[in-house]
């Protein structure tokens, strides 16, 4: 499969990348790991005039824990997350579920976040954990709440000329836990259903914060806000989790396709939300 022709600029700094993007206009695209963009080019689903390669920019691959955040730089690979001890909860749980080792060695978290593919796993994790996206553009740097960043399928809220430079995932100070449950047809497949769960416990053991977000069952990665609301302030338990799972299933909007019927997918959301909450709770209680 042969992509259409395009120009390529290899940026040496974020400033260079942002300049090139601004100059390239509408049709210019960042090339990060290329694990979504290159297939789209080869299938001729996209025909950008210019690719701005950010892989040579020094320091952009950062992965560190500072100020109660896990910071993930624009060229940090999925494999870096798998290999590192720094991430916990839903982030650590999700990383090994991203495709296969080949894709994880090249693909980036920030690229996945920017791509806004509703079948991508990371945006569910970021929605469940309340993460922030750091964007840099001609006007400088700004932080965008993940809920505002994800606009629609394959659409983010970056302004022209802006790129994602980091994402920040909060690391709670108290007891917390998280999980990512994914049903896939085979290793390397996108999620048929994915559910990210995140729980924080107060000193009395009740739930002080909760996050649930779903992959591949709505036009965008969707936060199950009603389900989250049911959990907060309550003591964890089977009935509560079943009710939250029911609310998450109700918030999903799956479609029937070759992967399975809508009705079954909604059932999987229910089962995986419950199992995810149980896993998150066990982790939080284990400390």
């Amino acid at each position: 499969m042969y992509p259409p022709s395009f120009d390529l600029t290899v940026a040496r700094s974020v400033a260079e990348a942002v300049d090139a993007l601004a100059e390239g206009g509408e049709d210019a695209r960042i090339l990060a790991g290329g694990q979504s963009l290159i297939p789209m080019l080869k299938l001729r689903f996209a025909a950008p005039s210019l690719l701005v390669d950010i892989n040579e920019i020094a320091g952009l691959d950062l992965l560190e824990r500072t100020n109660g955040h896990l910071r993930i730089g624009a060229t940090a690979r999925h494999a870096d997350i798998v290999a590192s001890d720094l991430p916990g909860g839903a982030v650590a749980s999700a990383a090994p579920w991203i495709s296969d080792p080949l894709v994880r060695n090249r693909g980036t978290v920030c690229g996945s976040v920017a791509h806004c593919d509703p079948e991508g796993d990371w945006n569910s994790v970021l929605l469940a954990t309340g993460a922030t996206v750091v964007a840099t553009g001609p006007g400088g740097e700004r932080s965008i709440d993940i809920g505002d960043f994800v606009v629609d399928f394959f659409t983010n809220s970056l302004a022209p000329g802006e790129m994602v430079t980091e994402v920040h995932v909060p690391v709670p100070a108290g007891a917390s836990g998280g999980a990512y449950m994914k049903l896939e047809r085979k290793v390397g497949d996108y999620a048929t259903v994915g559910v990210a769960t995140h729980l924080e416990l107060g000193g009395d053991g009740t739930i002080s914060a909760a996050g649930i977000a779903m992959t591949s069952v709505a036009p965008v990665n969707r936060k199950a806000s009603d389900a989250e609301a049911l959990l907060v302030g309550e003591a964890p338990g089977d009935e509560l989790f079943a009710a939250a799972a029911e609310a998450a299933a109700a918030a999903s909007e799956p479609r029937s396709d070759v992967r399975g019927s809508a009705e079954w997918k909604r059932n999987v959301v229910r089962v995986y939300t419950r199992r995810g909450l149980e896993a998150a709770l066990a982790q939080a209680q284990a400390g």
Binding site: L183, V187, S261, W264, V271
Partner: protein, 786 residues
Amino acid sequence: MTATPDLSTPPEIGGIGHSVLRREDDRLIEGQGDFLDDVVLPGMLHMAIHRSPVAHARIRGIDSSAASAVDGVVAVVTGELMAAHNLAWMPTLSGDTQAVLATDKVRYQGQEVAAVIATDPYVAADAAALIEVDYEMLPAVTGPQQSLSADAPVIRDEKEGQTDNLVYTWESGDAEATDAAFESAARVVSLDTFYPRSHPAPLETCGIVADVNSVTGQATVYLTSQAPHAHRTLFALVAGLPEQNIRIISPDIGGGFGNKVPIYPGYVVATAASLLLGTPVKWIESRSDNLISTGFGRDYHMRGELALDGDGRILALRADVLSDQGAFYSDAQPTQFRAGLFHVVTGSYDFPAAHVTCRGAFTNKAPGGVAYRCSFRITEASYLIERLVQTAAYEIGMDPADFRLLNFIREDQFPYTTPTGFVYDSGDYHTALRKAMDEVGYAELRAEQAAARAEGRLLGIGIAHFTEAVGAGPSRTYDIAGLKMFDSAELRVHPTGKAILKLGVKTQGQGHETTFAQIVASELGIPVTDIKVVHGDTDNTPYGLGTYASRSTPTAGGATSMVSRKLADKGRKIAAHLLEAAEADIDLAAGTFSVRGTPERSVTIQEVAFAAYTNMPEGLEHGFEGVSYYDPPNLTFPYGSYIVVVEVDAETGVWKVDRMVALDDCGVRINPMIVEGQIHGGLTEGFAKSSMQWITFDEDGNCIGSNFMDYLVPTAWETPRFELLETCVPSPHHPIGAKGVGESATVGSPAAYVNAVIDALAHLGVRNIDMPVLPDRVWDALESAS
């Protein structure tokens, strides 16, 4: 046939029975293989094909002006141009015709409409995308039931006298005897099931480099071909080129699985373009080209019925098939069998009557019906009977293993003539199944299953006991497009005792360069490392029908033995001369000719070979070479017992394989390691079919499964661990007792996996879930059962 010689050899000779490392692997692993896309010729142009985006439409016009204007485009070929050379249509392997480039209508999504020849493959692809076709849309027919309904549009309206979409009707067996058996039956059980469309999906796609010399008329055609000689003859017949001027070279092939048996439109266009332009033209498919347009497998809607007596013995079988052929009937199969060897559907069981009826229907889907790792529709047959006997066992409340043991053909019944006319050569099914059951711990598993059910867990144990009919010929019964199915081997032993073996068959990964050398090593005692195997070049190999249908060892393997024995006979004469003994007193074992009774008087095969060129006895011709064409007296009938254990997640329908025990009996194993590799591959493909893989279409005829994100190929990550066992009942008629094995596991295993999932749900009354057994289908079955 002469008595089988002593074929045992020490490891340094490496004959039959030694797991010699594959001699082709060094070059393949180190990137020194020579695949089609490695062929680069001076002045070579590149071709890209413009395909129909829709499934059924009349062509009002084609505008290729924008494509022609692209810098680097040399020519745009349309159906009109092909028609001017009488090449717009071509014959298929089943006697139908197929459009090379569409002139009147497009009949499936992905059909070839035009081709661009350019200086570079990127330019060709860009220009092909610029071709504009004006379509008048027609309703798409996406299934055979719809296709045969009265109001369906006629897809093949260009065929004279074709007023509906029926391709063929075919039957086998005895309708009357079968009806009588059903009338007298104590019990009748039935199963309707569908074997979905799948694709061989070789990792190397199909391709050609056509190089027609404008001065000499010599056509050198590099082709991804499983059957180079047959393709040479078909090229001669279709293109009208003199056969001596056609040389097909099939280089290293990255997997075939039946996909590289047919002749594709792209081959014809590239060859015509090379002829017209006087330059070499390369065309190699993209992944999507391969998946949407080239030979698919299966797509069989099947109904089976068994008549049983009061004790659970099978009295008769009825099978009815509705086959989805796509837009052109192009099954690769012997002429007299319209549904391939589907009539082997009586399987491993002993009963007197069967009747099989088959219909084929045209649809707006890609043509094919190739024998995907299968001896002509045997996979479908094996799947139906093994699913059906399992159903019967549940219906009469008998354990599925006991039901099989009760109904198996017994060892003392071989050779066994089936009600549809196959003569099974040999087997011992009872021993095979019992051995597999012992290995898996069948009785304990049944107890575990009962305990699990009591806790609400779903455990399933599935069995499949398949019998295959592989290795076509004999030539009196089997042909492809009229070419009789025998095969050949030519052996030349050089003066220094090193040998070159030339075959009419062609490996696509099966390891021929190793295993065929091992046959010679066993027969003549020449070390396997001293034997070069040559294949795939029609100018340099004897005629043969190629590699598919597990036929290489049964046919060309037989030829290799026979030609070796010719040389052994000549060698005995030479040895008698060298040892001054009587020819009748010379024995050959492991490469040493010795005088019976005085074994210290001996010469080696190498000394004999040298003498053949330097010191020949009076009256013998010089040289030490020969050729043999082997026409087997019968097919071979490998079989196996597979047992799969699964656990099903009752909440989601997701199932996981806990155990896969596979016993295969393929007679004598030439290279046990290679046999196991073939079985591993087949078990993996069976797992793919049963769990995840299919090509399907939406109601407009759009193909879903056109790339590896949609058409799933399992990797080592999700493939279960396999536990292999064997028994060995040699083929009584094959020179070395071998049976084909390349396809056994692909044929036999799908039913084992599916039976295991059904078994987990059988107590709830579930009898069928169609492949792929996706979790939502399992969940649906559970929901509707409870």
